[in-house]
Point group: none
Chain length 220, copies 4
């Protein structure tokens, strides 16, 4: 059903938008609508809309949804509460997938961490994260997401800043006689485009509703 | 019942055998039979037999089982299909626990690997294992256990032999844009001896049957 | 002199070739000749030839050298002994820079490996290399360069192929009681393109001869 | 000359003393004098004295030196200034090797770090150390030694506390496009015994003087 998916892309000329185009093209999906600073290009009504743009474009996104009446996958960061409320309203009539992080591997790291945590209650826990020297915040938002898995414990996070590392995260569990660790390394921006692809395939087969990327990954 | 356990130890002079002796002695268990390169020492009929030897000694193990008719916990690595079949035959009359790795952490590594495998069907998989230079078999029995999780795939195993490393195993999942890995490091051989202790206590209270260390860990 | 360098590029459509084009263009260098699967595009005689192709193209490279009579920087991996001999013959008449890895970090890895080798004569040695799933040769040329440091020993190389990893190499030294390791991770292919740029600038100012990237880095 | 070395061992029953005995015996060296809580055992005059005891035994060590007049290798930790001064006085007449850390690998880590630092002046630097949960001080003394190599820079040290890890240290150098790292992992106490062995072989062939373990490793 999704093998000949036709998609529309908002923010088609940005860095993530370009990566999305590459990945969707490889999969055989067809770009039939796009919108960016140069305006819109319309060929055909899409099956799904992908938004990789900025909050300032949000009203345009809403108008495109009204025009095409198709599922939405939105990767725009920095949405305010009002925008999220709008999306939830729309999701009563259409499937909407919204996330600030479409990395498949990070979702799995979180899932495995939850499972290990349950089985290893008395073990020591440490988290490390390594990013490029230009990263301003410390620790990373993802490291904080990992820490939240251990909600009742004060887990130490070590932050390293090195060259132009895209992003590495490790969770360690230390017992007497053994150490278990789970590591995720981002090697390129493509990982996010792959997560958006999965979300698009998910959205076109879903009931109306508001979904996270976690839902895409783990619901049947 | 198991507090004054009398045990027999095959491979009593090896590295793992020595560690087993330490841990069992601390627990108050009594070594009443042993067999190694110097021959056998018999004091009394054991309640359970522990085998920490090599595949070349397997026929001896079988004869000791015949002689004492007691449960067996076997940690020998590199057993061939015929040997496993023999053990399963024996387990119709006696409880037999068989595993290539008696650590808790490895059980969790296996569990997490199964979960990751399900979520990441198209990703590349690699397994590495590092052990001390004295280890005879290559790849390790544990690496083969990890490989079995991917039963339908030909997964590559890389084996490193370095100094006196107790045992490290890593499974890598590689997608376009990210790598996820799960690593287990044994920091001392004692881990395995404690798992064997748990298995011995389990075996003497069990019905006849063929058990894995997973059964010891997770069945009530 | 090298500020308006005109270059020819063999293997111009490959992954490394594309990166070379980006970096050389940023520097203001002009692509005047290229050769790849689609055939050749000739604009002008180049000042230097860059080869980022495969061993199967080697005879073409030789013919281009004969045709243009300009310095060569060759990054092709998996060259056989006969090919290296050819290059050395050519270097009597032209500057030739040949290396399997054009990164600064790898040069340092090699230097540190030499030092550690001298101090740790009886230790076990293992080499691992991880690259993207599209890499044809196994083990990598760089891993072979590291192995050459231990000229008198049969050192094991483990090769992993995962996703789109740019290139990781580790040398391990294992003693009884400790393991020392040195790891280099390329975080983007750009590293290599910048090393090739340095080498091109070096080659056009050099006497005839056969040079390594080590010469480019460390000779004045 | 050192192949039939006869040695005396002060603190022969302690944990390090026991490891020293194992390693020296494997090498074919002969224990001819020992001193511990049970008193002394004298067989023959030793060629070298090893001290693995405690500061409270220091006066005994001094008296044994006077009695045998042979080189000393001292691994006792917590010596005060007065004791160090005594050792330096003695070293005018005999070779004395003194260190608080006889790990060969850590010496090499420090050496390689110095070299890498010189070649990579603009790169980012990070240090990590991992130890067992019982370790009181943070960061480890060894991590501080590594930091001292970068005397003019404020290098970040990340400390992890996990299970019963013997001790891991890593130095990272991050450039744009690559990361170089050097890691040392202690896998057992044996590493220190091996360093003491090297020091004993060094001491018996040396002129009078006060030597560090660094001298043992790197002077010709």
């Amino acid at each position: 059903m999704s093998s000949n998916l036709k998609y529309g892309l908002i923010g088609s000329l940005g860095r993530l938008g370009s990566e999305v185009r590459n990945v969707f093209t490889e999969k055989g999906f067809k770009l039939v609508f796009e919108y960016d600073i140069e305006g819109e290009k319309f060929t055909e009504k899409p099956d799904v809309l992908i938004d990789c743009s900025l909050p300032g474009v949000f009203s345009k996104t809403i108008s495109f949804i009204g025009r095409f009446n198709v599922p939405l996958v939105i990767a725009t960061t920095g949405l305010n509460d009002e925008m999220i409320t709008s999306l939830k309203e729309i999701s009563k009539d259409l499937p909407v997938v919204q996330s600030y992080n479409y990395s498949i591997g990070i979702q799995i790291l979180l899932k495995l961490t939850e499972i290990a945590k349950e089985i290893l209650p008395g073990w020591d826990v440490e988290i490390t994260e390594t990013h490029h020297r230009f990263k301003k915040d410390k620790p990373s938002g993802t490291a904080k997401m990992i820490k939240e898995v251990f909600n009742d414990r004060d887990v130490n996070i070590s932050s390293l800043r090195l060259g132009n590392v895209a992003g590495d995260h490790t969770v360690y569990f230390g017992g007497l006689g053994e150490v278990l660790s789970i590591t995720h390394s981002a090697t390129s921006r493509r990982t996010f485009a792959e997560g958006i692809l999965r979300s698009a395939e998910f959205a076109v087969n879903q009931k109306n509703g508001f979904y996270s990327f976690h839902d895409v990954m783990f619901s049947k």
